[in-house]
Each structure stands twice: as C-alpha cells, then as structure tokens.
Amino acid sequence: TSNEEPPATTAPAASAPAPAAGGNDEPGDKIVIGFSGPAADHGWLGAINKAAIAEAEKYSDVELKVSEGTNDANLQISHVETFINDKVDAIVLLPTDGAALTDVAIKAMEAGIPVVNVDREFSSTFAARVTVLGDNYGMGVSAGTYICERLGGQSDAVVAEIAGIDSLPLTQDRSRGFEDALKGCGLSVSNRVAADFTIQGGESATAQLLSAAPKIDAIWNHDDDQGVGVLAAIETAGRDEFFMVGGAGSKNVMDLIKSGDSVVEATVIYPSTQAADGIKLARLVAQGRSMGDLVETSVPRKIQLYAPVVTKDNVDEFIGSAFES
C-alpha cells in the first residue's frame, strides 16, 4: 500500500478503497491507535491530519485518538506520554522535530507499543517499528533537476528559491537537494528568501524577492500553500519572464499546471497521505499481520515515498490525490 500505485492511494475524499489482495482490510482485533502531528496550521499538515482520520474511519476495528497539533516538542512529548499511559496499541507519530521526539518514542517501544514514524525521521532506529518517510532532500533534487532540464545550457540563468520555515531541518534538506541538483548543471541559487509556510509570508517574501531580482529565469517555491501568496505577489508585480516549480502538490497548483496559463509549470509532490499510510501500517503491525502485496510475513521497517514531478503531461495522474490547501 505505498503511494506508487494510484489505485491504492488514499485520497481524503475518496470512497472505500479497492480492497488490496491478501485481505488486509478485513476486520481484525479491535485496536486503539494514537496519532500525533505538528500544528495543522497550514494546508499540507491539515491534509495529513484529515487523511489520517479518514483512513482510520474506514476500519471498524480501529479507534483513533488524535492529539492534534503543536510545534512545541515538549508538548508533543506529553501527548505521546499520554498515549503510553493509556496503553494504546500503536502510535503514529509525525514529530515536530525527529530528534526531539526520539526519546519518548523509544519509551513507547519499550512499553511494547509499536511506533510508526512519519515524515521526519527519528535519530534512533530503536525508536520506530516502521518509518514512512517523505523525501525532502529528494524533493529538492527533483525540483533542481527539472529546472536544469528546462534551462539546459543557460549557465548564466538566474534561479530563485522561496523556502519555507528556515529553522526547520526539512527546509534545510530541501534546499540542500535543490542546490546539489543545480550544481549538476552548473547553476546555482542567486536569490533566496524564506517565507513561513503561510500565504502572507509567501506574498511578502516574494514581493521583496522580485524587486531584489529584476530578471529571473526560474523559481522554486518549496510549498504550494505559501504559493497562493507567491502567485499573488507575482501577479501584482506583473512579472512573467520566468517559470515556477511548486512543492507539495496542492490541488490548486495542479489546476494551474493543467490550465497552463500561469507561471507555474510543475510541482514536486510531497505526499500528504503519509500519515494515512502510517495508520494503515500501524494497524497491520498492531494486529500482527503482514502487508498483503508483499511476500514478506512482517511489515517492513522503512518505506520512503517517492517525490515525483508533476507537469502538464502527467497532471491528470495526480490531480485526484492532490490536497486542498
């Protein structure tokens, strides 16, 4: 049940999924799963939560406890502690900071509660039974590679980057991947600003970026949520000499790609269904089942999701699973 097969992707709005081979969806022992993620204060994280909840609702044997939302590691630790106190059967954890939540995850594992680590990796292998990873570095690589292809040979091209919250490790990973990929074709980032994953941040950072760089060839914007603001600023400035690549893959951006009448040419998917997959896996682990599509009798330790580039050519493949920002 990974993201690569479109039929199995669990779009939040999708109705009952096609039953996978191997009867994984058949009801098993009743279990309680605890889910905790960072503050769902922007679209992608909101979509993560919604998809997780929707996934859990599909199973009559799963009771989901949601400790929603915080960017404070201290508080999230106490959420996990509460799950441990309540002796849930499995925990799905999207940590606000992987390293900071490692310790309490180990505690949970030691208490016999399997932990499914989503998106931001723990710093110890003992902290999770299963890890479902997005690929932030890969995202940057995908975006950089796409821009390299489009600008092929133009060594003096001006490439700009609009990052998300700069103090988050994931932003660093994305930027690193982007830089590495650009290096491959002799390009580099000439202007970089950081927004804060919010629309207002995207708008004001972009407004400034555009006036700092009078001519741009390509922009990579890390996040399609802040992209709403980025596009508003671009429109206000009346600029269209460049093309833009988005990040995360919101419905809104995919619509724009499809219509082709904006500067957005492509976006790099960062699956918002990670936590939903985490729930599925947690259920299997807690019930001691295996993954239906695999020969392996246990659920694997690690699954890394793919960060594909969506362009006008393949947008129809992805638009169905895109999240509403």
Partner: protein, 338 residues
C-alpha cells in the same frame, strides 16, 4: 515669570508654539535619521535595485497592511492599553469575508459586502476586547491574549483550515492597481494614517484617548466616561484589523486563518519605536508611520542583500535597540535645547 510684562498673547504663546514644532521634529529626528541611514545602506549595497520606483512601491505596499494595524495600535497604546489580538482578528476577518456564503452573497449583491463583513468582524472583536478590559477589568494583555487564541481558533474552525480563494473579481479589481502611480493599498494606508492623525491630534476622541492613557482616574473625575472610551478605542483597533484583512485579501487573493501571524508584535514594535509611550498618555501617528517604514525598509534591504533569515533576526534585534537608543539621545537633546 518675566513674560508677565509682555503682551501675553503674542510673546508667551510664540515661543511655546516654536518649541512645540521643534519638539515634534526633535522627537522624530532620530527616526528620520535611522530611515535615511537605512536608505543609504540600501543604495550603497544594492544600488539601483534599491533606489527605484518599483522597489519603493514594493516597500510601501508591504508597509501598508502592518501600517494600518499600527495606526489602530497607536490609539490602544496611547490609551494605556495593548492589543495582542489584532493579528488573529485580522485572520478571522479575512476568513469570514471569504466564506462561500459571504462570497456568494457578495457576487449576488455587491463586492463591498465582503469589505463590510471584514470590517464588522474586526470591529466586533475589538469591541469585545474593549468590554472585557473596561467592564470586565481583565488586564489588557490577558484579555487580548485570550482573544488572540479564540480568534485564531475560530478562524480555523470556520475555514476548516483551508485557504479560501477570493473569487469575487470585482472586489479584487477595486483595490488592485494604481491611482496616480501609487498602489491603491498604499492610498488606503495613507488615508488611514491621515485620518488617524486628525483623530488623535484634532478631535475630542483623540484628546480623551491621551487623557485616559495619561491618568485614567483624573479623566474619570473630570467627567470622561473612561469605560466607554476604552471600548471605543479597542473597537477602533479592531476596525483597523478589519481594514488590514481587506488589504490582505487583495494582496494575497485568499483568506486564511494564518493571516496576520505575529503582526501584533510587529505593530507594537513599530508604535513604540515610533515614540508612543508604552505606558500610555502620549502617542504619535507620524512616529508610528516612520516606525513601520523603518521596519519594512530594513527587511527590504536585508532581502536585497540576500541575508539569511537568521542573520536578519540578529540584525533586526540590534537595530531596534540602536534605533531606540539613538532616538532617546536625540529627543533628550532637543528637549534640553528648547
């Protein structure tokens, strides 16, 4: 004492007038100097990219939203209060004005309905703050902190944490674009600032605001209804948050619960750096406008120079302190020289 011999009306008043004007200039010299210095740095480091009309407009556009909020904040702080909720209220107003229901109604009737909704939401939230502070006697810091949490939460609930695109194009068209080469949003800021200046310096409302902030008990005993006035002042701040929400909608073409995050701190910083007393009793709209411009220009210069956000933060901290220190020294000198 010596002026008694002179004709009272000419001699005694004139120096007072002059010292007042000097005083005002003196009060703002530090700020103007800081702004000029920033511009010099901008020109030196970024050259034409900094010193061109488009960039100036970018700075002004950027300043306009926070500027409008800061005008409202100037009144609250002058009246001896503080409002930590305006950012959140702005978010709430932006969300409320862009719900499907509102937008549908606006499409059916007139786009100004969206403006009305945003202003009304801001105003009501502000009035609630005011009632809590004035009649509930909840400390302003806490009352508005509570409003901040509540407004943010409510905005998330209403929007279901989704970004709500503005689909009423007439609304956007009305505010986008320029007027005499200056963006409409900047005009809005200028008008609000000018209105704020008149209101604070030339009307009974402003006089009461200063009085209530300077000595609430004395104002009360002089017959001013300080509670009602407090409610009105917070209402005014809420209203500017509503105006800010409209501007934000225009700027981002979307309403969301995350609009206005941390704007309250930026606004307070601009107001206080501008010279309004945090303790109340003295407020300056000109100072506030300068304060806002300083902060926005600062960010612009940073961006022009590709500074990392971390370095920006450190530099911002240092510059705030330096600006305030400079401002104080100059103000003290101008005072002692009169």
């Amino acid at each position: 004492m010596s002026s008694r011999t002179a004709t009272p009306d000419t001699e005694a008043k004139a120096p007072a007038r002059r010292s007042r004007v000097l005083g005002t200039a003196g009060r703002n010299t530090g700020l103007v100097l800081a702004l000029v210095l920033l511009c010099v740095v901008g020109v030196v480091t970024a050259g034409d990219r900094f010193a061109n009309v488009d960039n100036v407009m970018t700075i002004l556009r950027l300043a306009s939203v926070i500027g409008v909020l800061s005008i409202g904040m100037t009144f609250v702080i002058t009246a001896g209060g503080i409002d930590l909720s305006i950012g959140a209220v702005m978010g709430l107003a932006s969300v409320w004005a862009t719900t499907i229901a509102t937008q549908t109604m606006a499409t059916d009737t007139h786009w100004s309905l969206m403006v009305f909704v945003a202003l009304a939401v801001g105003l009501v939230a502000g009035l609630v703050n005011g009632v809590l502070v004035a009649y509930g006697k909840v400390v302003a810091f806490i009352a508005t902190l509570a409003m901040m949490a509540a407004a943010r939460g409510l905005a998330e609930m209403i929007s279901n944490r989704q970004t709500q695109r503005v689909r009423v194009n007439e609304f956007l068209d009305a505010f986008r674009g320029d007027l005499l080469g200056v963006p409409v949003l900047v005009w809005v800021f200028l008008v609000v600032a000018a209105a704020g200046w008149v209101l604070l310096n030339r009307t009974t409302f402003g006089r009461r605001t200063v009085a209530v902030g300077g000595n609430p008990e004395a104002s009360r005993l002089a017959g001013i209804n300080i509670r009602r006035h407090t409610v009105l002042v917070y209402g005014l701040a809420g209203l500017t948050a509503g105006i800010g929400a409209v501007m934000m909608l225009v700027r981002t073409t979307a309403g969301t619960s995350t609009h206005g995050q941390l704007y309250e701190l930026d606004a307070i910083a601009a107001v206080v750096v501008g010279g309004t007393l945090l303790a109340g009793g003295r407020g300056t709209i000109v100072g506030t406008v300068l304060g806002v411009l300083i902060f926005t220009t600062l960010t612009n210069v940073f961006t022009q120079n590709n500074l990392s956000t971390s370095a920006q933060a450190v530099a911002k901290g240092v510059i705030i302190v330096v600006a305030v220190l400079l401002q104080q020294r100059l103000a003290a000198r101008s005072r002692s020289s009169t």
